[in-house]
């Protein structure tokens, strides 16, 4: 349903997203992980047609077969909510504090789908039930501040589902929530994707959320998709040096100091820091920080090669490179 | 989306030209503003007298220029004075908190509720009308206004983490007020001061119009307006000129203040 190839978003000469390609089928559950400046949020914005005006977009972005790269705002409006919908990190900020949440969810039903007041109300009740809000009748009349963080996120999910989107993009959906609530919201998203055969894209820096909810994984760094494949496989056997560094850097309970008094083990780190968009190296974005860097990495970007677990954009995988060494 | 800032440019142009004219009057006016020439009264605009002369034959342009200077001095001194006291009270209230804050703010609410004009009339009745008393009256009304906004802005700064960090460093609340609160509320206060400056110009004109402000021969737009009132049928232009001056300057500074506020309002602009 979604076909993206060589999609780029540029601010002047600085790429926020460089030649991203992916396809999404109904029912897919895709995780996108990366750190600040990785381009993961820009990818989401591009898929929603919400790229900032100061940016220029190139490449191909097809939604249900329609080319959208040069679509007008009106064309996007017709598509958003009905085809692609999005939920955000901070549910409180995304809801109008002066509006009952029922009214908020009913609005798109009435304007986009042309339902009557009673129909919209009944539909909202169904949606609230579907997203697991307790006492949906009462919740209709509640104001955002009267709900807990998890309940607010459920309301936003109901709102996103109102017009039956085929793809739901969740940008850091659980970052503002406590661990237990985060798990329930994650599980809810999985269930909805399954029940509705709706594609789900979870963008997160949190590997736990992605591991729990998605089947496919895109790893991003500096605007590039550096590795992709099955979530489970990549998490257990990452190939790209960046993915490896990222996974290793996460503190794990096993790393707890074994015996008090002994020197505490240090966490493995990626040297250096994430460069600003304008300072990114021209070739592989990870060059300069990569422990396995080759001479050509800095200047040429690698195409994607097959790894044991999927695909990765890394010269180390190039058969020609391997025969040399 | 970036729009051309019409209000800012217009406000800056109007306020700027009024200020320039007022400054110019210190070194040059076409004539002595008080020079009477009864033989040449109610002259029409001409090359010699750009806007003509008044009922005593005085040059209107010269009078308007000196009046601009007087009005702006009154407005400036009263805003600086009232603003200064108000800001000190406001940031002190915010730093102390508790009953001190409550006391200061309730008293300032009370004085906000007292009609400003009535206070000025009272002051003039007791001490006699003069420019000095006009300044005091306008300064006084400005105290609670500035106390309020600086306390509000300061309270916001106090919620920031660097204030806790400063406390952890062992700095006292007053030091923190100077080091962190003042620089961070300066922008908000400058905006407010620009707006209050416009209000003070208007207040000065109103008081002079009522005869409570500038006394003859010191010219003032308000007094020129009230002098021209009796001659409205004979020489309506004498009322229109000072009226226009009031409108232009109040509009200029009002627009300027408003548009600076609008520009600085999205405070959530985070540099990343």
């Amino acid at each position: 349903m979604l076909d993206v190839s060589n999609l780029s978003v540029r601010f002047g000469d600085a790429y926020a997203l460089r030649d991203a390609s992916l396809t999404v089928h109904p029912g897919d559950r895709i995780g996108v992980v990366g750190e600040s400046g990785s381009g993961k949020s820009m990818l989401a914005q591009a898929l929603m047609g919400m790229v900032p005006e100061s940016a220029s977009m190139s490449g191909i972005l097809k939604i249900d077969g329609t080319e959208m790269t040069r679509a007008t705002e009106a064309q996007w409006r017709a598509l958003r909510a009905r085809r692609v919908a999005m939920i955000f990190q901070e549910p409180l900020a995304a809801l109008n504090p002066l509006r009952r949440v029922g009214t908020t969810v009913m609005e798109p039903l009435r304007t986009h789908l042309g339902l009557s007041r009673t129909q919209a109300r009944a539909r909202t009740l169904d949606l609230f039930e579907e997203v697991g809000l307790p006492d949906p009748e009462q919740r209709l009349a509640a104001y955002p501040h009267e709900l807990s963080g998890g309940q607010r996120q459920r309301v936003l999910i109901a709102l996103a589902l109102a017009c039956d989107p085929k793809l739901l993009i969740a940008d850091e959906p659980t970052t503002a929530l406590d661990a237990e609530v985060a798990q329930r919201i994650t599980d809810l998203l999985v269930r909805l994707s399954r029940d509705r055969a709706m594609a789900l894209m979870i963008i997160s820096h949190d590997l736990q959320v992605v591991a729990r909810a998605t089947r496919q994984l895109l790893v991003m760094y500096g605007g590039d998709i550096v590795e992709r494949g099955e979530t489970r496989k990549i998490l257990s056997a990452p190939f790209h040096p960046y993915t490896r560094g990222l996974l290793a850097a996460r503190p794990r309970p096993q790393l707890a100091r074994p015996v008090p008094g002994t020197k505490r083990p240090r966490l493995p780190t990626i040297p250096g820091h994430i460069p600003a968009l304008v300072d990114l190296p021209a070739g592989c974005r990870f060059s300069g920080r990569c422990p396995a860097e080759l001479s050509r990495c800095r200047t040429t970007r690698s195409t994607e090669f097959r790894t044991g677990t999927g695909l990765a954009a890394c010269h180390l995988l190039n058969p020609a490179e391997r025969s040399k060494s | 989306m970036r729009r051309f800032p019409v209000n800012l440019v217009l406000g800056a142009a109007l306020a700027g030209s009024v200020t320039l004219v007022a400054l110019l009057s210190f070194i040059w006016t076409p004539y002595d503003h008080a020079a009477i020439a009864v033989t040449n009264k109610f002259a029409s605009p001409s090359f010699a007298h750009w806007l003509g002369t008044d009922q005593l034959g005085r040059d209107v342009v010269s009078q308007l220029m000196v009046a601009a200077r007087n009005s702006m001095i009154v407005a400036f001194v009263s805003v600086v004075l009232g603003g200064g006291i108000g800001i000190v009270l406001g940031v002190y209230a915010s730093a102390r908190g508790g009953w001190v804050e409550n006391l200061i703010m309730r008293v300032s609410d009370l004085s906000l509720a007292f009609p400003a004009l009535l206070f000025a009339i009272m002051l003039a009745a007791v001490f006699g009308p003069s420019l000095q008393n006009t300044v005091i009256a306008i300064a006084f009304i400005n105290i609670p206004i500035f106390a309020r906004i600086s306390r509000g802005a300061a309270n916001q700064v106090w919620t920031r983490e660097f204030m806790l960090a400063g406390q952890a460093a062992g700095m006292g609340r007053m030091t923190l007020t100077f080091d962190h609160v003042m620089p961070n509320i300066a922008a908000a206060i400058i905006v407010q001061a620009t707006i209050e400056f416009a209000v003070a110009l208007l207040a000065e004109a109103a008081l002079s119009y009522l005869g409570l402000g500038a006394q003859p021969p010191a010219p003032s737009w308000g007094r020129m307006l009230s002098d021209a009132q009796t001659l409205l049928y004979l020489a309506p232009q004498l009322a229109i000129y000072p009226g226009l001056c009031i409108v232009i300057s109040v509009l200029g500074f009002g627009l300027l203040g408003d548009s600076i506020r609008d520009l600085s309002d999205p405070r959530l602009r985070r540099e990343r």
């Binding site: 850097a249 707890a256 240090r266 493995p268 | 062992g170 620089p183």
Partner: protein, 273 residues
């Protein structure tokens, strides 16, 4: 080793807003009956979710808030029983690192100015040299002192905040969610920095976070808080090997990166958040 910080039976409540005229609502109990002891050079980790009272505890230890009941002893002195001047002097011995690297530095002052702030408060001379030393200890350049916070990344800003905390050469650092706002790779760098500094300078540290994995990486002992109370405490390794409380076990499960399995654990149930 000797005890540096001791808290006994701390309690702190906050009044709730009135909803009816005649009834005062029950106050919100933020911290209740919390005791802890921290030895010199030791790291105590405090884990809990939002609302567990861990931040209130930090604020009381820092002397920003008074406990309603209980005592906080720093090096044997009761923080809330000494005159303000004495507290000011004691303050130089314990410093704090905050969560938000964007909010904990005043954008209007240079980095060097901010790092020197505690030095000024303590009337220490030779400040530029001390600032340069602190900057180098956290892996920044002494020339960075003249730059402003917005010129730095989140991780670098957190280094600056740490430099400010260690500039006074304190005995204790309270770190409240100090790495929570950082990217994973940056987080690892900052955690390592804190471990290095702690070992080099012999610091004691109270490390507070909602993330059990992060706390475990850095702490000698753990204290698990829930709804204002301590539910479990012990050496980190022991708590991990055999968590006694159900809540600790659930936190432990949540901290594991669980591979996605074919069947979702929640496919047939609806649980309200």
């Amino acid at each position: 080793m000797t005890v540096l910080l001791q808290a006994r039976n701390l309690r702190r409540t906050y009044p709730r807003p009135r909803t009816t005229l005649f009834q005062r609502p029950e106050p919100l109990v933020a911290v209740s009956g919390v005791s802890l002891a921290l030895e010199r050079g030791e790291t105590l980790g405090i884990v809990g979710e939002s609302g567990s009272g861990k931040s209130t505890l930090a604020r009381m230890v820092m002397g920003f808030e008074r406990p309603e009941a209980g005592q906080i002893l720093f090096d044997g002195t009761d923080l809330n029983a000494v005159p303000a001047r004495e507290l000011q002097r004691l303050r130089t011995k314990f410093q704090m690192v905050f969560q938000d690297p964007y909010g904990s530095l005043d954008p209007r002052h240079s980095v060097g100015w901010s790092i020197a702030e505690p030095l000024r408060a303590a009337r220490i001379d030779n400040r530029p040299a001390r600032v340069a030393e602190a900057l180098e200890q956290v892996g920044l350049n002494h020339g960075d002192a003249a730059r402003f916070p917005h010129e730095f990344s989140g991780g670098q800003r957190q280094r600056i905040a740490i430099a400010r905390a260690i500039a006074l050469r304190p005995a204790l650092i309270v770190a409240d969610e100090a790495v929570s706002a950082l990217d994973v790779s940056v987080q690892a760098q900052i955690l390592n920095l804190l471990m290095d500094l702690q070992e080099d300078l012999g610091l004691a540290m109270l490390f507070i976070s909602h993330d059990l994995a992060v706390v475990a990486a850095i702490s000698d002992r753990l204290l698990v808080m829930k709804q204002g109370e301590v539910v479990e405490t012990g050496a980190t390794a022991d708590v991990f090997a055999s968590p006694a409380h159900a809540y600790t076990r659930s936190l432990l499960t949540a901290a594991q990166v669980a591979p996605a399995t074919g069947s979702s654990p929640a496919s047939n149930r609806k649980v309200p958040a």
